[in-house]
Symmetry: C2
Subunit: 348 residues, 2 copies
């Protein structure tokens, strides 16, 4: 399966049946390193490529839950393709900026993604649809076990898994849920939610991690602590908080529905602009798609839950350029985004 | 024909075939007073009613171009109906505020309207569709001649017709064209146009005269001088200026069309909001309808020229309350306006 074919596939979490009204997706990421050598930042070029070859060989012969992995060396990936992989959350911006001796292994529909020689030798992730932390962890854990049976991971009884950055030592696990919280934003309760999460060792961020804006009112909640807390405790903690935030969001939606006309006006205006505008900057497009989904979820607009996440990921610049097949100016991107949304909205 | 029936009729200038891309309507107004008595502000209540009766009797038996006039005493008109007449430009706000002894005579489809005992004993007006000053003047002149043959008008060889306010002495004529100038507004050229008109003895105002805002980018150009200038000179002057402003507006539209995508975006967004919004404040509604008409005129939107003016006049509060049949809050008005526009936009 070529990279082009892999990129052409929609991600499993976008197309799966198990969609949730608020939680768009769930992600589990594990950081692992080989025991017998320095972390990637301290490896020579030669040792980096040797490490890549060792890990890639294992990845390409590993099968999890019936899914095979295809290893793609970074040197075979164009800059445009790298940006598409970043937008799809399949590689990190940090990996995209690195050179030879790095790469990513992907399974069909992008359920599994394993970065090789980013900050750690191995960073494996599972993205699954909706609110499915246990399921995502089960898969990640299987992959981890499969790799550990053939590779010698750096592990100390006292600390757990060793990682390049001390913030990952221990479980090496980062778990996050991506949530659509328009009503909490509209009713100006996000600040309150943020301050409640931070003492729990949790972070809340925008769609593209630290420092990114919450375009489309999409937020990621993730754990900050990897040391001194078991995987199970972390999962339970994130699950409980995700449920609580969902409840707050649902309450905020109920409050907004009390002013029914005003909410109808908001969501129908968004639908009207999505189906009529000829120029749509990315931030406005996210905002409108967010309002539209809120309308669908609140039963005020016709449409289906499925469209939202799929739309959102198709609004980003790299994806638009990739589908266009070449460089595009900002104006061309804004026009193409509007054209895409109009065509997508026809059926709704 | 009852007042309710008269109000239910659409105005001739809105429905006539002779629509113009920029000039919505043309108005000629003549101020006349009876020779043998003081102007209305100086009349006793008894004399006011007597004057009303004399003039009403003449009006109700006058026929111009096959059109009869129906006289409606102000005391028989409800406050809500008065506001509707003001919105339709059939009486002035000043008349609406006065009491017994006043009234208005209307012909079918509101082509002729004669206010009795406003500031002058008689103020007759003709509104005609599009750019039709000569036609409007011809009708007004016929009505004036018909009335003068049966009433003794205050007239001095040296001054012309005498009027309560010195700004009307002479011809007693005020001529105006109502124009839709969105491109001049968008390209920020209106200030320039305004300063060019003032030395010509012309005024430019919003939809509802002095001090009113130019909602929907609708402007009225009218003469300020009635003394020492013949009717024909005044007509020619306004006609020439109207043509020039049309040319400027057309040039501005051509310039905007050069940035085709941006203009398409503007007008399609307006169409999208008009056909989807659930709450529309009056000023926003005017703005959107104005953009929509610009799109139709520029060939960017499907639709017909006719709808615009008709829509505009149906967005105003008194008309909405009148059709609703009673008092409405601001919220109810904004909701009813959006509902009306959505229904009206279905066919477009």
């Amino acid at each position: 399966m070529s990279l082009a074919e892999i990129l052409a596939q929609p991600s499993h979490w976008l197309t799966a049946q198990e969609q949730h009204p608020i939680v768009l997706s769930t992600r589990v990421r594990l950081a692992r390193n080989l025991a017998d050598r320095p972390f990637p930042p301290a490896l020579t070029a030669e040792k980096t490529e040797q490490t890549e070859a060792e890990i890639a060989a294992v990845l390409e012969t590993t099968k999890i839950d019936g899914q095979c992995l295809r290893y793609l060396p970074l040197r075979d990936i164009s800059d445009m393709e790298k940006m598409v992989l970043v937008e799809k959350h399949l590689i990190s911006p940090a990996l995209a900026a690195l050179g030879a001796g790095r790469g990513v292994a992907l399974s069909p529909e992008h359920r599994l993604a394993v970065m090789v020689n980013e900050e750690d030798h191995i960073r494996l992730q599972v993205i699954s649809p909706g609110n499915s932390l246990q399921e995502a962890f089960r898969l990640a854990d299987q992959l981890d076990d499969a790799l550990e049976s053939r590779l010698d991971f750096a592990f100390r009884e006292r600390y757990g898994y060793l990682t390049a950055c001390p913030t990952n030592v221990g479980t090496g696990m980062r778990v996050s849920t991506m949530m659509h919280l328009p009503a909490l934003v509209m009713t100006k309760q996000m600040q309150q939610v943020l301050s409640a999460l931070s003492p729990l060792g949790l972070a809340i961020r925008g769609l593209y991690g630290e420092g990114s804006k919450a375009w489309g009112n999409i937020f990621q909640i993730s754990n900050q602590v990897t040391l001194g807390k078991s995987e199970e405790d972390t999962l339970v903690n994130i699950e409980a908080v995700t449920e609580q935030v969902c409840e707050l969001e649902n309450n905020a939606r109920q409050i907004m529905l009390a002013g029914r006309r005003a909410l109808e006006d908001r969501v129908w205006r968004a639908r009207g602009l999505l189906s009529h505008a000829r120029i749509l900057p990315v931030e406005e497009a996210f905002h409108l798609v967010s309002e539209d989904r809120l309308g669908v979820e609140a039963g005020l607009l016709p449409g289906t839950r499925e469209t939202f996440a799929a739309l959102v990921l198709n609004l980003l610049p790299a994806g638009l350029r990739y589908r266009h097949g070449g460089e595009m100016t900002e104006d061309q991107l804004n026009a193409a985004r509007a054209d895409y949304l109009r065509a997508a909205a026809v059926g709704s």
